[in-house]
Every structure is written in structure tokens, then in C-alpha cells.
């Protein structure tokens, strides 16, 4: 597969060009950095499979992180409860997207463009643009910065669990088949008896929940929560999904593809940083990679239709 070749090429190039790239320690760091985007990308896979999209995941992450910080610091909640607040915020945000898309039938593009602004805006308004929540307890910080026996970063089991969950959901349940059917043909899915509105509700709420969970990991990893948390994450998440072979039009794609796409994106960022390349190059190459990926997907689709 083309994507596998890309990953191998990246690894070869960076092993040569970067310092310290091809070590176990660095591999662990690549894994650590990719957990947040990975959580978002897994849920986004289900959303995109229905033919929709969710541009608000990065902003929702920011809002959830900030509200978690406030719940812990200002309301005095224990950190576990505060983390639940983050996930609840994510679920709430996802539900808002879901209600507008599934019940009112508004195109997901414009709904999530609106919530992309709304969530980030509420986070900015709430913190006055400057407030930064920082005193998180060591228990939380371990999740983001610590390592389990064997050198595995502490947040990786979360990603693995989520990956297994989404893989099973999409590839082994009738729900997953329904999700794909909706993306392939919404009307056809309805006539086949699939509860379209309920499935859409599910995928957008899951997307929000993952954003909330990613917010917890983010705050744990950086030790802080500001209104700009998660800025730009939607680009990397969508890139990982599309790179993995999921069609942006819906109906076609896989969770394991997304995981491979995630690795490709994470390797790119990590490798560029270790090769002392400027930070902007990561964004530029990711954008170019995204264009290449949808171009390649398009060619595959044309060929299979011809």
C-alpha cells in the first residue's frame, strides 16, 4: 500500500537526516505526541464515513481543557471529577453538532464551522483571552508525561483502547455498517431501515467525547490549559483520516487506515523537529500531504468506477 511505503520512506529519511530519530526513546515520544490527534482522528473517521465532517474538534478540545482547569482550580473539584467535566463538555458540544446536523438537517460543514468559532470563542470569552490554568496535580501530569513499565508513555493505553473500540464499532457491528451505508447513500440507508438520525447523533457525540478526552490528555501532557489549546488539531486529524484512505465523501474507509495515517503524520512532525527544520515546514508539508492524499484517493475512486 502506498501509505505504508510513505511511512517507511519517512522513517528512512529521518533516521538519516535527524539526530536521535531511530531510538526507542524517540519512538515512545512519537507515540506520546500522537495520542491527542489520534483520539480525534478515530472519532473523525466515523463522522467522515457518514459523509459528514467535524471541524470543531480542535476548538472543543480547547473549551473542554479550559473548563476542566476552572472546575479543578476555581470549583475545587478533585482532578478525576474535573476530567469528567472535560468529557461532559465534549459530549455536550458533540450533541450540539449532532442536533443541528441530524435533527435540523443543516449541512455538517457549516454547523461545525459555526461551532468551530463558537467553542473557541466561548473558551476565549471565559478566560478573557489570557487566563491559564496550571496547577494540575501530579496524578494528572503522570498521564501526560509519565511512563509505564516498559517505557510506554502513560497515555498510550487510552489510544489503544479507543482504537480497539472504534475498530470494533466500525468494522464489526451493524452500527458500523449503517454508518458506512449513510455515507454511501443517505436516502438508501433510510429506506433500508437504518435509523439515520440516531447514527448521526452517535458519531458526532463520540467525536465530542473524544475531544473532551483529548483535552484531558493535552492538559496532562503540557501541564496547562489555555483558550488556544488544540488550535489547528483539526487539520492534522483530518489529514490522518484522509491519508488512511477514508473518502471525504463518505462510505469508504477504515479505522486501521486512520491509525497508519496517524503514524505518518506523527513521524513527519517529529522527524522534522529532530532534523532542525523550521516549525512552519511541518504545517506546510502536512498540507501538501493532505492534498496529495485526497488526490490519490480521487484517482483510486475514478479507476474503480471506470
Amino acid at each position: 500500500m502506498l501509505l505504508l511505503a510513505l511511512v517507511v520512506v519517512e522513517m528512512a529519511y529521518f533516521a538519516h537526516a535527524g539526530s536521535n530519530f531511530f531510538t526507542a526513546g524517540n519512538a515512545a515520544e512519537v507515540l506520546r505526541a500522537s495520542v491527542e490527534i489520534g483520539l480525534l482522528a478515530l472519532a473523525l473517521t466515523a463522522v467522515i464515513l457518514t459523509g459528514g465532517i467535524d471541524l470543531s474538534v480542535g476548538s472543543l478540545l480547547g473549551l473542554a481543557a479550559v473548563l476542566m482547569g476552572a472546575a479543578h482550580r476555581d470549583l475545587g473539584l478533585p482532578i478525576a471529577a474535573a476530567a469528567l467535566v472535560a468529557i461532559a463538555v465534549g459530549v455536550g458540544g458533540g450533541a450540539l453538532n449532532a442536533a443541528l446536523v441530524a435533527r435540523l438537517g443543516v449541512p455538517p460543514l457549516i454547523v461545525t464551522l459555526g461551532t468551530y468559532s463558537l467553542f473557541r470563542g466561548v473558551a476565549e470569552g471565559f478566560t478573557g483571552g489570557i487566563r491559564n490554568y496550571t496547577d494540575f496535580p501530579p496524578a494528572l501530569l503522570f498521564l501526560g508525561q509519565g511512563r509505564l513499565p516498559g517505557g510506554v508513555p502513560a497515555q498510550v493505553p487510552l489510544l489503544v483502547t479507543a482504537a480497539v473500540f472504534f475498530w470494533l464499532l466500525v468494522h464489526r457491528t451493524p452500527v458500523g455498517r449503517g454508518i458506512r451505508a449513510i455515507g454511501f447513500s443517505p436516502e438508501g440507508a433510510r429506506f433500508a431501515g437504518i435509523p439515520v438520525a440516531r447514527r448521526l447523533l452517535l458519531v458526532y457525540v463520540l467525536s465530542g467525547a473524544m475531544a473532551g478526552l483529548a483535552a484531558v490528555v493535552y492538559a496532562a501532557r503540557l501541564g496547562q490549559a489555555k483558550a488556544d489549546a488544540g488550535s489547528g488539531y483539526e487539520l492534522f486529524a483530518i489529514t490522518a483520516v484522509v491519508l488512511g484512505g477514508t473518502s471525504i465523501f463518505g462510505g469508504r474507509g477504515s479505522v486501521h487506515g486512520t491509525l497508519l495515517g496517524l503514524i505518518a503524520v506523527a513521524l513527519l512532525q517529529n522527524g522534522l523537529r529532530l532534523s532542525d527544520q523550521p516549525a512552519e515546514l511541518a504545517g506546510i508539508l502536512t498540507g501538501v500531504l493532505l492534498l496529495g492524499a485526497i488526490g490519490a484517493n480521487r484517482l483510486v475512486a475514478e479507476r474503480s468506477r471506470a
Binding site: 446536523v101 435540523l104 464551522l113 459555526g114 489547528g232 484522509v242 471525504i248 498540507g287 492534498l291
Partner: protein, 318 residues
Amino acid sequence: MTSPISRYRRELGVAGALVVLLALLAVMAPAFFRAANLRDLLVANAPVLVAAVGMTLVILARQIDISIGSQFAICGVAAGLLAKTGLPMPLVTAGVVATGAVLGAINGALVAGLGLPAIVVTLATMVVLREGLRWRTEGVWIEDLPERFQWFGLGQAGGRAAIVLAAIVVFAAFAWGLRHLAAGRAVYAAGSDPEAARLVGIHPRRVVFAAFVFMGGLTGLAAVLTAIQFIDVQTSAGAGLEMKVIAAVVVGGVAISGGRGTLLGTLLGVTLLGTIGPALTFLGTQAYWERALQGAVILLAVSTDALPSLTRRPPAAA
């Protein structure tokens, strides 16, 4: 035959919201209506209107362009650099419009030529252009611009008049063209049903390409109209512009699914959204809530569009 009231339902709704907002301001913060403030608002929103005209074309054609902010930043920098080479301002403007058109053509080629989805293409070009610009300029502002750069060399009053006039001319020209030229109707046709359009001899892909090119060019013009208001060119200009412009267009009634909407609606949308921000300040609210309000307004506008359909069968997935 639909009555004018039902055909322009959305535009009337937005006009109504604007009237309510202005009435609120008249009662609670009459200082808003001072001539200097109104004039500043007019000048600040004129470039937004120009950009919104371009975005209207793109959305009418059933596409979208979220890279407008990055295009705007690059065009602003181009304006400064071109002016420093000694070119007279009319040529600088033409050069920047051309730059914008080229950037638009890149999006257009990928979307119309290769058939790639506009949201993903413009998400990618937004990041590539923005990061590319930052890399190249390292965030340094363009300074030491020639005297004739600011206000087109016409002085503050003359420059302001030129900006507003340019916006009015652009708006009037495109509003007329969309309604009365075959090319204008082609945009509506391609946006509402590309297959049907193709069957009557319209080339939807050419229309889409042209829409992106026009949008780029108009963004370039908007960048010039903004840049000449200051003595330096910020390389970080245009941040958040895509949300402002898309919000204005969508609130003004242009359907995101294409083929429906008017430039009059866009004008009302720009006016309403351009008033909300300053209104917040005059009413004493913190400016940090502006982005949240933008998002809320977008959601409200598209939701009210969809509400009548609740009484009918549940809609299909988008």
C-alpha cells in the same frame, strides 16, 4: 408567483435584526451614532464587503474557501513589497489583485480541475499559504513604505472616500452582473444543479474555477484597501477573516448548498456582523466574546433556515 416578501424573507429577517440592534444602541449607547464612529465602521467594513462579494460567488457555486485569510495576508505583503519597488499605486493595486487571482486559481484548479472537495483543499492551502508566508517573512512587518502608500497618497479623508467608493462600485457591479449577465445566472445554475447546468450548455467546472479566481482577485483588492489604512503591513493580517466573511455571507442568506442567495443579503450580513463587534464595545461587554458571538450568529442563521422543515419529514443526512 411568489411575492417579494416571501422571496426576500431571509434578507428581511437580517434587516430586521439589524434594526433591532441599532434601536438597542440608540437607547443604551447613543454615542455609537456619532459621525466619526459611523465613518470608521464604514471604512473598516468596506474591505470586508469586497471580500464577501467574492465569497458569495464561491458559495453560490456550491463551494467554499477557508483560505481567504491566508490569501489576504499574502496580498497585503505583496502590496507593501510592490509599493517599495517604486511602482505607482494603481499598478500596485493591479499587481495585488493579480496575485490574489493567482492564489484563487490554485484553489480553483484543484477543486474544478481535479474534482477535489473544496473544504479539504482550502483547509490545506490555508495552512500551506499561512505557514509559507510566516516562514518567508519570519513574522517581520513590512515597514518604511513610501508616502503615497498610505491612503493612496490622497490623505486620510480622500483615502477613506476612495475605499468606500471602491467597495460600492465592486458591490454594484457584481450585484448587477449576477442578476443580468448570463455568466451570473450560470453561477446560480452550476451551484444549484451542476448536471442540469451541464445539460443546458453551461460548464460547471469553468464556473467554479472562475468563482475561485474572482474571489482571489477580490481578496487582493480587499487586502489593498485595508493595507493603505496603516503605515506598516502586518504579516499576520487576515487572521480570522474567513469566519467573518463566511458568517456574513451565510447570515445574509446564501445557502451553503449552493444556488440560492443574493448579494443584497451579503451586504446586510456584512453590516449586521460588522456592527455586532463595535456594538459590544459600546454596550460595555468584553471584546473576547466576539468570536463566540460570530459562531452563535452563524448557527442561529442556518438553524432558522432549517426550522420550517421540522414540520415535514426528517431531512436526509447532509
